[in-house]
Symmetry: C2
Subunit: 313 residues, 2 copies
């Protein structure tokens, strides 16, 4: 199957033409997601026209369009249900109508983390595995689940996609989602500066030379031996380990795929989470494997074919 795929991110919209497990061509458009989705839609059409020209492919030969969206999405009705500071106008967009009118193709839309999980299962770290959760560690924390070969969705499409919003510190800080002490509120890109602001001795840390501390800076300064950076890094690792246990106990996976921006900064995240899960998860059937995501930014695009092939109830 050949298909169009769109991965809507906070800073870029990645558009690609895919065929089965290959991306034939793609281009990322720089976006300002605060401006909403509507101004972006014509640019996406232009991009696909250029990609078609460049590859000498006809869009009409594609079977459909798959869209990954950073928010709550119900794929069965083709709508965005709730946004989280990105593309606030998306719940009002009729995606199916846009796909039909602007691209002449049937369209499906799904949460971007679910799309990435579909991609990793189809062409990446979890090929052939039916019981999978994927954690995405970055600005936020994604946590999505596939059970017996199908994405877990639930009636309001919220099941199996809020794994970054399990409270792992019941006395913790407020999360953007409204809950308290979510994994995301305790160890994600957006909460890291808040954690450092309150950390005892942070002003004496080598981290204080940065205007904004991200995981790159945190892992670098920890590796250089800064004590605050080491302590905060280890706390983040503990939070991710606890969240991994929660995901195992919630969804019964055989494989945890871990991706996201953090993975670029630290080679030893996988062994630490693997060791923790091996030691602490209650899985009498055997041991859960922890694997690094393999597809990077291509994961959601490569989820297009499985999404378009899925039999939706």
């Amino acid at each position: 199957m050949r298909a169009l795929a769109i991965d809507l991110g906070g800073s870029h919209a990645n558009c690609g033409i895919v065929e089965e497990r290959a991306i034939l061509a793609n281009d990322a458009i720089a976006v300002d997601c605060a401006e909403g989705l509507r101004p972006l839609l014509p640019l996406i059409v232009d991009t696909f026209d250029q990609l078609a020209k460049r590859t000498k492919l006809s869009l009409a030969d594609c079977k459909g369009v798959a869209v990954g969206f950073p928010g709550l999405v119900d794929a069965r009705v083709g709508r965005v249900l709730s946004t989280n500071a990105k593309y606030e106008d998306a719940p009002k967009v009729d995606f199916a109508a846009w796909g039909r009118e602007a691209l002449g193709l049937p369209l499906r839309i799904e949460n971007d983390a679910r799309m990435a999980l579909l991609g990793e299962c189809y062409a990446g770290a979890a090929m052939g595995v039916t019981e999978v959760v994927m954690m995405t560690l970055g600005t936020g924390i994604g946590g999505v689940a596939m059970i017996e070969g199908r994405l877990l969705r639930g009636k309001h499409a919220q099941a199996g996609c809020l794994g970054g919003h399990f409270p792992i510190l019941f006395t913790g800080r407020c999360c953007t989602c409204g809950a308290i002490g979510c994994a995301e509120a305790e160890a994600a890109g957006w909460s890291l500066p808040l954690i450092l602001r309150e950390w005892p001795g942070a002003s004496g840390s080598t981290l204080s030379k940065y205007q904004k501390v991200g995981f790159k800076e945190l892992f670098e300064e920890a590796a250089a031996g800064d004590e605050v950076a080491l302590a905060v890094r280890d706390r983040c690792l503990s939070v991710w380990c606890a969240d991994a246990i929660a995901l195992v106990h919630a969804y019964d996976p055989e494989v945890i795929v871990i991706g996201g921006g953090v993975m670029k900064s630290a080679a030893n995240i996988i062994p630490i989470i693997q060791s923790h899960v091996r030691k602490h998860a209650w899985t009498p059937w055997g041991k859960v494997q922890v694997r690094a995501a393999e597809l990077g930014n291509d994961a959601a695009l490569l989820g297009a074919v499985p999404l378009l092939s899925e039999k939706l109830d």
Copy 2:
């Protein structure tokens, strides 16, 4: 449908003859679960014979036997997968063969908390609701999920039944399950004495007059104004609230049913969890209702008919 139902607890095995939403007769056998299940099986058969005589019903008119077991169970293969200090010989018992030979009936077995959820959905607090989680607050914490009208099980039958084992304090105490800071390790009957042992000022508390403190004593002394009891009670409530949020974010329910021994001690648990969930759960579709379980110790028995009626894959 008329059926036999067995609820295997730590101190009693409750045996009943049920017909649809009614328990026609039942008797509880005192058991020592440390002795295992095998010595108990003939007593269960005797009990059903007596119940049949008393009610002038024939066991042969029943459609089957449903067993609720306090451990990990795979209903699809009819086996106990893992025990947790109760009935350690159960994984070796061939339940289907026993049902056939000793009672002349087909048999199904399921985790006891899942059976109770089936009961509450069929005849109790969640009648007619298809999206439900049930929390059982007692010696341990149960957390089971029904999604789109079906129990969530997963490949190894562990999905949707370990809701008491989500880590809600990643720096917390070791749980009997092997994980760290599970809701159960931070606020259940078995962990309460451990929490009190480490609590600052506990020796000056009115709780110190009890040989063993359970939730009954905790709630009573808190109501009488003891400061330690108040603080520990409020901490338990916060743990349960966080676990409720985790269950909502994991399984997308419309109703949370709360049962278990603790409910006898405290009338205000439901409003506190309801208020927390209303304020903090991320549910753009609407508000999750928190309801008290209605069936008490009968819940698992009344899960018999739905369990026996279920189409198992």
